[in-house]
Symmetry: C2
């Protein structure tokens, strides 16, 4: 039987050899964290390599994602579908071993990491998911869901504010099954961290309410195991294990930034292997090491035992189990269609002016009644963004009950936690803040897009229509930012009808959706030949003229009513004008080309787009002969109607620009 050190060294050697072969990667962190990985994966981690999506497996997030080779090496040795050839193709195009771990790409990778701090923050979401799912589905003698969430992170992760935000919440929420191993090696890329990270991290986490264990010698498996058991035993507090390690352990560059982000030099590589007494060829792992790491048999047994538990559970609670399975599959209940029918015939026929944030709240009122997988929340703007409904219950940390989260003023952590909930399985999370503050969550929104997680963002107060709060609170470029994100579906509805359709789309889209909603009331738009099916196209004709249009007006959200007024005035003048509402350009772009051409015929070059945001995006639709009325500058504090007027969002100004185009 190999020693624990040898088992850890196998991770080290595979890591440095793969990095050497790729001539790219980060050797220091895998070398430093290998003993932590040996302890966690071989002695605590509940999983089944042959069933990597098992719902009740422990979750693992490598927040310092640059240590990816550590994880790939462990997955390989434990028997996941990560081959030796995959390790040899580390960081090569199309391999399942990309530079940083990517969810959906590699079996056994539970979360995409790389941007530091977000792994820790998202692990909070995974741990929260466990807690909530367990509360909903576990029954006496049936612990259907009962797993830990483990996270490795480094100094850099804990410098990032997003980790601070989320860890504060983790303690408040009493997420005792969240266990974070802090690889405290004292080195970040710029060198020894004392000059920029001098705080007492342990004391900080105690201040949040965490159980802090250590400092532990991160290369002492027995000490690590003792601490880990202590962490597991405390189910009321999340635990931080402060593991003092040596980055690049065994290499001449140990304890320095030199081994952080570049392959070891050839001579270092051989010296390092010599220091491990490792004499095997690159990528050659002795059978007894494979055998000692192999987790397939044990994992399959654990998995099968759980399947038997699930079967008995199903026998005793057939409906509940069906619901459990439905939620994990991400299917919707059959009565959802009726809910939308009711919304269409109720809210959808309202003729009085209503803010789209309020229409959204009405849709949510109905949805939360029938979709218990919806987990809502807001970054301290619950009332303003309309994310709480009669059917939502505030999460109760002592029991795990509830489906609504008060995130406090922490937009970035909120987005990470939402991503974690979505990736956990069993939830469809939505969350709200002002559109201007989507900025703070930007990189987490991006990560959600990259992972294609189904999440719904309720971004209200969508323009200068915010009014008095002024330019810090008036978004101008944020809609463009969200549209620029691959796989983000953006909807900016103009009224209640489009808001219903936007929510419907959000539920059905595999990937994040951003709902861009007005603070102010918007009139119900009158449409020719109205049908909800038209709205589902993302862009459609609201009003048309006889024959071919001379001018096409395009608008979204609050500007559709303005465009409609201008359209009426121009028609009155005898112009042939078409009005197109374009609440979701992504959805419109996904329509067949013939439909797109029918709405926006190439032959009509006089096109005018209106949106109270930066204009750049709209040139795509209006071309070199068109015009855009948008926001070329930040907004200004004042009454909303004064601000709109100030920036030219008036019928007069629209007509002026239209006349120039028509001249």
């Amino acid at each position: 039987m190999p020693t624990r050190k040898q088992l850890a060294d196998a991770l080290r050697v595979l890591s440095i050899d793969a990095i050497d072969r790729a001539q790219s990667g980060h050797p220091g962190a895998p070398m430093g964290m290998a003993d932590m990985a040996e302890v966690l994966f071989r002695h605590a981690f509940k999983h089944s390599p042959l069933h990597p999506t098992w719902a009740n497996r422990d979750r693992f997030v490598l927040s310092n994602g640059h240590a990816s080779m550590l994880l790939y090496a462990a997955l390989h040795l434990m028997g996941y579908a990560v081959s030796l050839e995959d390790l040899q193709n580390f960081r090569q195009l199309g391999s399942p071993t990309p530079g940083h771990p990517e969810y959906g790409v590699t079996p056994g990778v539970d979360f995409t990491t790389g941007p530091l701090g977000q792994g820790v923050a998202s692990a909070v979401g995974l741990a929260l998911g466990e807690r909530m799912l367990a509360h909903t589905f576990n029954r006496p003698d049936f612990e259907l869901i009962q797993h830990y969430t483990y996270c490795f992170c480094g100094d850099g992760c804990l410098m990032e504010g997003v980790a601070a935000e989320a860890c504060s919440l983790a303690a408040t929420w009493q997420l005792g099954k969240l266990i974070v191993f802090y690889d405290a090696n004292g080195i970040s890329i710029d060198g020894k961290i004392d000059a920029w990270f001098s705080e007492d991290v342990g004391a900080r986490f105690k201040a949040y309410g965490w159980q802090v264990l250590g400092p532990i010698d991160g290369h002492d498996p027995a000490a690590l195991e003792t601490a880990l058991k202590e962490a597991q035993a405390n189910t009321r507090q999340p635990s931080l294990l402060i593991c003092q390690t040596h980055i690049g352990l065994g290499s001449p560059e140990v304890d320095s930034a030199a081994c952080h982000g570049a392959p070891l030099k050839k001579e270092s590589l051989s010296q390092t292997k010599a220091s491990y007494n490792w004499s095997h060829a690159p990528f050659e792992i002795p059978e007894e090491i494979y055998a000692a790491w192999d987790a397939r048999e044990k994992g399959s047994k654990d998995y099968e035992a759980w399947c038997r538990l699930a079967q008995s559970y199903q026998a005793k609670y057939p409906e509940l189990y069906a619901e459990f399975e439905r939620r994990l599959r991400g299917d919707f209940p059959d009565n959802l269609a009726q809910v939308f029918t009711s919304l269409e015939t109720g809210l959808g026929r309202e003729t009085k002016a209503l803010a789209t944030r309020k229409a959204s709240k009405s849709v949510l009122d109905a949805l939360t009644e029938v979709l218990p997988e919806l987990v809502g929340g807001s970054a301290d703007l619950t009332g303003s963004v309309g994310t709480m409904t009669n059917a939502t219950k505030v999460f109760d940390p002592t029991t795990g009950a509830g489906n609504y989260l008060y995130y406090g003023v922490r937009e970035f952590a909120m987005a990470c936690i939402v991503n974690g909930l979505a990736v956990h399985g069993g939830f469809l999370p939505y969350a709200g803040t002002f559109l201007a503050f989507s900025d703070q969550a930007k990189n987490a929104l991006r990560l959600g897009c990259l992972m294609r997680t189904k999440t719904i963002w309720v971004f209200t107060h969508d323009s200068i229509g915010v009014g008095e709060d002024g330019p810090t609170h008036q978004p101008v470029e944020q809609i463009a930012v969200l549209r620029a994100l691959p796989h983000m579906t953006v909807w900016r509805p103009c009224d209640s009808k489009e808001t219903i359709v936007a929510w419907e789309s959000a539920l059905k889209t595999q990937g994040p959706t951003a709902l861009i909603l007005s603070r102010q009331s918007l009139p119900a738009i009158e449409r020719e030949d109205f049908a909800f099916a038209k709205l589902r196209r993302g862009g459609y004709i609201v009003q048309d003229c006889e024959g071919s249009p001379e001018l096409i007006l395009l608008a979204t959200g609050s500007e559709v009513a303005l465009a409609a007024a201008a359209c009426a005035a121009l028609s009155q003048e005898g112009h042939k004008v078409r009005l197109v509402s374009m609440p979701s350009t992504e959805v419109f772009q996904a329509q067949e080309p013939e439909y797109q051409e029918a709405v926006l015929p190439k032959s009509c070059r006089k096109r005018l787009a209106l949106e109270a945001g930066i204009p750049d995006f709209w040139w795509k639709y209006v071309g070199l002969d068109g015009a855009v009325i948008g926001m070329e500058d930040f907004g200004i504090s004042g009454k909303a109607q004064d601000v709109f007027k100030h920036f030219g969002f008036t019928v007069e100004h629209v007509l002026e620009v239209a006349h120039k185009l028509l001249a």
Copy 2:
């Protein structure tokens, strides 16, 4: 003489009356913080209302900017150019009393606030500026710069991770003259904060290394003053005063979120005034209260005393004083032009391939030799982004010496601190990270744009050219995000020549500049009729054809070389093709229309833009008849050349698309 309570009540009453008149605003916080304001402004704050830009004044940042009326009321009473009429026009279009405090709009407002947490983080930058400027210019017996930086913040500010990031640095940097009053009222918009902010804030700040004072009764002026003196006396540690206050003090809605963000109801308003024994008409302030608040005489005396000190200093250190004045004016030394001439004739004539991040480093090498106002730094990527030079010295917390900052992995705090340094005066801060991580700093970049502060962002690793690190590290939408920011000037140079011009533009532009730089080497581009003056246009013809072009190729950065190769091949085929490099669309757009038309004649509709980023932006230049080769999806891990090929950035693919356009 009015009592201190009455003097504080004057702030309260002006606040609630102005909010009532506007029927918009946040009464609770001004009512809660009025006693803190009375203590600070009347008993400690060094300033001169008639000289609001005095370099040696204390700085004040209202991080919970929604309490703006508190500040406007105090400025009015102290004698700043904020009139009673201005207060009556609170939150009205064009008034100097916008919804949240705006730097440059209101005399006496030292920083734009509103997005919570950033005020605290930027105050760290202001305090750092004081420390560095004092070290550079103070001489024995001549404390030319010696001021405190005060900040008020609320619970929400301290929930935000950006405050956590910056406060950790503030302690490491020993910014003892930073004093933060924490308005601990226990209420945020969603209600009592216990359910989302249960941490021990004092213990957290102690863990950072702060002096933590309190809890103090935030309505007890004597207790506040004692704590403030203690804070002032400790010049090695920043101080946090935990002030327990009652939001909405005196109103029936006291201690509840009901008074946070909406005007008091009429009956509450009168009950509140009754509780203050305040019987005056709205906006009527008794003379004795004005007299007690008036800071003009004392302020002018202090200011004049400082002017005398400065005069003696000037007599003794004429050159140093001239330099001090130059730096405060933001002028450049005369020899800067020579530096650029040397760069143009040296680096600018290099013909070998070079990464633009390396070219940028060479420019910085030269600039930091002659511009001591440059303060550099990086969020733990110093070597990769090339922000450190021979002339930079790492900031020394014990002395205040140095002009280089290790921010650690804290992009958002870095951006806030850079904003603070820029607003302090005397500095031209620049800072670097990978372009992908500009996301984390987004809202602070926005705030810099809103304030038009001169700051320079070194964003390297600008595309899928990042290669092996994969999609989390490969920006695709970030250039579009930066271009979407009003007042942000974006440069994506294609080679060393354009990099020199980009830096030159950054120095001269009043507002932030983002330099988008390649990780990988880029060839020096051959240009017809080369002149640096052409490059300064932001967009220019690199290669032209005889007569009118059939096709215009537009490209930026690494794609210019690709476009040049395609251009050569198409010309070989007999096509008339023009190649345009467009490193800065903002600068190009600022050229006279005739120039723009000469480069991109409206008559030429066959246009093809190339940029390894999301394509949406470029439709503005190519129109409905053109095409864009860009990134429609996130990147992928692999060797850079493989990744470029994978996404169609090859001559073959460019020719294929060009041929379609030409067909």
